[in-house]
Each structure stands twice: as structure tokens, then as C-alpha cells.
């Protein structure tokens, strides 16, 4: 509850801070302070301290899983703002509004991590998406940014329409907006109620629209264009925190619903997972621009995150939290480096190791983590995902397919490392890289290695 209230309030505070001061650095510091307050508020919530006592009439359900995810999302945003705040200031003139929108997105994220009904799911998705449409188009004079924004908006609104149709059909069949999960008993016969066609159709529509939101194939086509066209700083935000929140909503939503769909559900999900892994990994191999490659790689990572849905057990829940940490840290790190580069192509990274050894080293750690190499956080994230599927039993072939695609992903991640270390060239950066930025990157790399050796640090915090 604290996170929802505080993030909405802090968003308004940020909007007014733009009137009070025109100093961009000051606004960034206010945002950092706000994020720290938000993080503290959410952590206190975990231990039972509330800002306000509100009866939500069981529309929101604050359980440990969601609250801990909130903490991860807010901490990731904090790291993101600390690392890339300077670059957010450079996107346009309305710096305070960008931060305000980021806080509103966080408000949507905290609703998505705690909804217990379809109404709150819908509101959370919309509160999260609408500010993002604006952030995507933040670079007003840039045609690419405009197009990305319009495309994102139309796709987002379209998938919202599909989601609402699904919700309406489920309501028609069951008479409630609850998450289901319990087998309904017919009063007259005492037998489990027959699942109506309307409910199955509604669930499928809901599934399609959630696939749109988390960019799983075959509904991924908007992702590369939007991620490529949006200002790089905001791509970093969209690809990490927002995507992870989409997955948390996905997992929470279908945790309870899978029994209605029966065994066909696993088959459908396996098809989506394989298609996502295939399209994401294979297309990423052929990209020339690193930003676009990262967009496709985020589709591929979505394929891995979908395993949490496939496994559907406690291990999967731990796994998705660990995956969020690993993936967010690595992507925020690599994007922070990417924003500093003049040229986004692979050739633009040639010889970065000679010029900026710290940048090259930290981005290497981030890329290794994304590829899932042992000793980085990404390894245990992928391990937990696959372990949950093995634990659920019966789908070993899917694990083998996933490992195969993970091997493909190593190719395009290592291409960047190869360009940085083994190719001659003049990697040009935007301006001088400050010492503080390098320290921040080293801390991110250190965290990735720390969680790679001791993944239990994250998971213990979850159970503590």
C-alpha cells in the first residue's frame, strides 16, 4: 500500500518541482531522494508499518511476493536514475515531468504486484502503460521517437481492448472479477461446475493481451521498433522494470487460472516459449545496431521468463524474482554504457577496451550475465527458471531447447565483447566519462558478480 500511495504522491511532487526550480541537477537529486523514500516506505510495509490504513475491500492483496518485487523494482529504478540521471536531463526540456512519469509507472508497477482482481489488473496495466507512451515520444523533434511512440500507443491500446474483452467474457461466465483458483461447485448437483466456452475464450484473449504486453512471440513485432525508436535512457527503463512488472502480473494472473484451461494450456505455453526464444535469439544474431540487438535479446529473455509461468511452482516464483534482479542490473548497466556511445553499431564499440577500460570491463560483466555464464547473476536466474520446469516434471525436452537457444545467445553477446577487446578502432564516447559514473558502473558489476556467487542473498531477503 505504501508504495502505491507514495509513488503517486511523489509523482505530483516531481511535477511541482519543475515549477519551483529550473535546475536540472537539482531535479535529479529530488527524484533520487524520492526513490529512496519510496524504497524505505515499501520495505517498512513489508514489516507491517503503514502510511495510511486503508481497507481495499480485497481488491488488492499485499503478500510478501509482491512487496518484495516492489522493493526490487524500486531499487532497480534507483540504480537506473543514479547511473543515467545525467542522460535523462539531456533528453528534453521537461526533466521534472520525465521523473514524474517514472514515478507514475512505479505506481502502476506496485498495483500490478498486488492486484487480486481483474479490475485492478486492468488499472495497473493502464497506469503503467500510459506514462510510457509519453516517455517513448519524449524526444519530440525526432521522427523515430514520434513513430515509436505512436506505434507503442496503438499497439498498447489495441491489446488493452483485447484484454478488456477477455475480462468481460470471464465475467459473463463466472459472475465475478476475482482471480478464480477455486473449483466452483454447482449448488444443485454438488459436482464441479462445467467450464463454459466463454470463460476459456476470455482466458485466451487475456493470455494474448498479456503476451502483447511482455512482448512474447508471435505478438512481439512492436518491440524492436519501439525499443529502437525511444530515447535510449527510456528504453533501458522499459526493457527492465516495466517488462519485469508485466511478468509478475502474468504469473500472478495465470497462477490460479491454469486448471480451467487443462493440459492444452501447457502445450500453448510451450509453443509461445519456443517461438519467443527462436525469434528473439535468431533475429538478434543478424542485427547491426547494438540497441536493436538488445531489443531482440529482451524478447529472448522474455522467453526465459515465461518458464516461470510454465513451471508454476514456488521455485518458479523465486526464479522470477532472481531473474528480475539479474536481468535488470545487467540491462541497466549495458544501456548506461550504450547511451554514452556516439555510434550504436557493433563497429562503434571497436577498441573501447583501450580507450575506456572501465566501461569495457563492466559492460563485459553485464553481457556475460545476460548470456547466463556462471559466476554472474544471470546464470542462477536461468538455472532457477529451468529447475522449476524440471521440478514440475514431464517437460525435459523444453529445457533442452532452452539451453540450446541460450547457447545461440552467447554468440551475439560475445560479438560486442569481441568488438571491445579484440578489434582495433576509435570508439567515440559522448563527452568525458565522469569518475562517479564509472564508480556506479563498477558497483553494478560488483552486484552482478555478488549475486552470481551468492544468489541466496536475494532469496533469503525474500523469506526473511
Amino acid at each position: 500500500m505504501n508504495a502505491i500511495i507514495l509513488s503517486a504522491l511523489l509523482g505530483v511532487v516531481m511535477m511541482f518541482s519543475g515549477i519551483v526550480t529550473k535546475n536540472r541537477t537539482a531535479i535529479t537529486y529530488i527524484a533520487i531522494a524520492g526513490l529512496i523514500v519510496l524504497l524505505l516506505g515499501n520495505v517498512l510495509n513489508t514489516y507491517g508499518v503503514f502510511v495510511l490504513h486503508i481497507d481495499t475491500h480485497s481488491m488488492l492483496n499485499f503478500e510478501k511476493f509482491g512487496l518484495f518485487f516492489n522493493s526490487i523494482a524500486i531499487a532497480a529504478t534507483l540504480i537506473y536514475v543514479v547511473l543515467s540521471g545525467r542522460d535523462i536531463e539531456k533528453v528534453g526540456v521537461n526533466v521534472a515531468e520525465y521523473y514524474a512519469l517514472i514515478f507514475f509507472v512505479l505506481c502502476g508497477v506496485s498495483i500490478l504486484s498486488s492486484f487480486s482482481g481483474l479490475l485492478m489488473l486492468f488499472l495497473g496495466i493502464e497506469i503503467m502503460s500510459i506514462p510510457l507512451y509519453i516517455l517513448t515520444g519524449a524526444d519530440k523533434r525526432n521522427l523515430k521517437s514520434n513513430e515509436a511512440s505512436l506505434k507503442y500507443f496503438l499497439m498498447g491500446a489495441f491489446s488493452t481492448g483485447i484484454m478488456l474483452m477477455g475480462i468481460a467474457l470471464i465475467y459473463g461466465a463466472t459472475g465475478s472479477f476475482g482471480l478464480g483458483g477455486t473449483v466452483r461447485i454447482t449448488a444443485a448437483t454438488g459436482l464441479p461446475m462445467h467450464t463454459s466456452f466463454l470463460e476459456v475464450a476470455g482466458l485466451l484473449l487475456l493470455f494474448v493481451s498479456m503476451c502483447f504486453k511482455v512482448s512474447a512471440a508471435p505478438f512481439h513485432f512492436w518491440t524492436p521498433d519501439v525499443y529502437d525508436g525511444a530515447p535510449s535512457v527510456f528504453t533501458s527503463f522499459m526493457a527492465t522494470i516495466v517488462k519485469a512488472a508485466g511478468f509478475i502480473a502474468f504469473v500472478r494472473l495465470f497462477d490460479a487460472h491454469t486448471e480451467v484451461l487443462g493440459p492444452t494450456w501447457k502445450l500453448l505455453l510451450a509453443f509461445v516459449i519456443i517461438a519467443t526464444l527462436l525469434i528473439g535469439n535468431v533475429t538478434a544474431v543478424f542485427q547491426q545496431s547494438i540497441k536493436r540487438m538488445l531489443a531482440y535479446s529482451s524478447i529472448a529473455q522474455a522467453g526465459f521468463m515465461l518458464f516461470a509461468l510454465y513451471g508454476g511452482n514456488d521455485l518458479a516464483k523465486e526464479g522470477i524474482l532472481l531473474y528480475t534482479v539479474a536481468y535488470s542490473l545487467a540491462t541497466i548497466g549495458i544501456f548506461a554504457v550504450l547511451i554514452k556511445m556516439k555510434d550504436y553499431t557493433f563497429d562503434g564499440f571497436n577498441g573501447l577496451a583501450q580507450k575506456e577500460p572501465v566501461l569495457a570491463f563492466t559492460s563485459t560483466i553485464c553481457l556475460l550475465s545476460l548470456a547466463g555464464i556462471p559466476l554472474t547473476a544471470g546464470f542462477f536466474a536461468k538455472y532457477y527458471m529451468l529447475a522449476s520446469v524440471v521440478d514440475a516434471g514431464g517437460s525435459l525436452w523444453l529445457v533442452i531447447v532452452a539451453v540450446f537457444f541460450a547457447a545461440i545467445s552467447v554468440y551475439y553477446y560475445f560479438r560486442v565483447i569481441q568488438a571491445m577487446y579484440f578489434k582495433e578502432g576509435e570508439a567515440a564516447t559522448n563527452g568525458v566519462i565522469s569518475q562517479g559514473f564509472k564508480t556506479g558502473l563498477l558497483i553494478v558489476a560488483g552486484l552482478i558478480l555478488l549475486f552470481g556467487v551468492f544468489p541466496s542473498l536475494v532469496l533469503n531477503a525474500f523469506y526473511f
Binding site: 488499472l123 515520444g137 521522427l143 514520434n146 505512436l150 496503438l154 481492448g161 478488456l164
Partner: protein
């Protein structure tokens, strides 16, 4: 009137909306088709709300049955209004830069 008629009407409106989004090239018309989809859902929710109320007459749930769907419709309307304001702003922003609202323009990003 049987509930089926309402379901068919709503599905027809919804399909018109989907077909419009997929085939039309004018950003404003695509946007109108999205609104058509949302309104088809609103109509369906209200119809289902009445249906569930009718089913609950004479049972203890009579006072509350179907109410949540009516509230949901208000939420959809409010969110749709918020979406319209953002969407039209984006379309105007694009029109300023390109003097066109044709979404074929979007294919430029692919290269």
C-alpha cells in the same frame, strides 16, 4: 431479449474494431476503431451485469449482483478518456513533424 443477442452485437462491434485497426492506415481512424472495441466491451459488461442480476433475484446476493461490472464500465470510460488525451497528443506531435497522419510512415523504422 436473450443475452445471446447482446453477445453477438458486442462481438460484431468488437470485430469491426479489430478489422479497422488491422486494415485502416489513417492514425485517427485506427484510434476510433480502438475506441469502438472498448465501447463494445462496455456494452457487453452492462449486458452481463443485468444477466447476473436477473439470475440472482431471490437469492441473498440480490443486492450486490452485477454491480461490480457497472463500476468496471466507469473505470473503462475514465481510462479510455486518459488514453484519448495521450493518444491525440501523440498524433498531433507526429502531424507537426510530418504533416500526415498516415501510419504507413511507421514502416520507416524497420530499416
Amino acid at each position: 431479449m436473450p443475452i445471446q443477442y447482446y453477445i453477438y452485437l458486442c462481438l460484431t462491434l468488437f470485430s469491426i474494431g479489430i478489422i479497422g485497426v488491422l486494415t485502416r492506415r489513417n492514425a485517427i481512424i485506427v484510434f476510433m476503431c480502438v475506441e469502438l472495441m472498448l465501447n463494445a466491451v462496455n456494452l457487453l459488461l452492462v449486458a452481463f451485469s443485468k444477466m447476473h442480476y436477473g439470475l440472482a433475484i431471490g437469492t441473498p446476493q440480490e443486492a450486490t449482483a452485477g454491480l461490480d461490472a457497472q463500476i468496471f464500465v466507469f473505470f473503462i470510460m475514465v481510462v479510455a478518456a486518459a488514453e484519448v488525451s495521450v493518444g491525440l497528443a501523440i498524433i498531433v506531435m507526429m502531424y507537426r513533424n510530418t504533416h500526415s497522419v498516415d501510419i504507413n510512415f511507421l514502416n520507416r523504422l524497420k530499416n
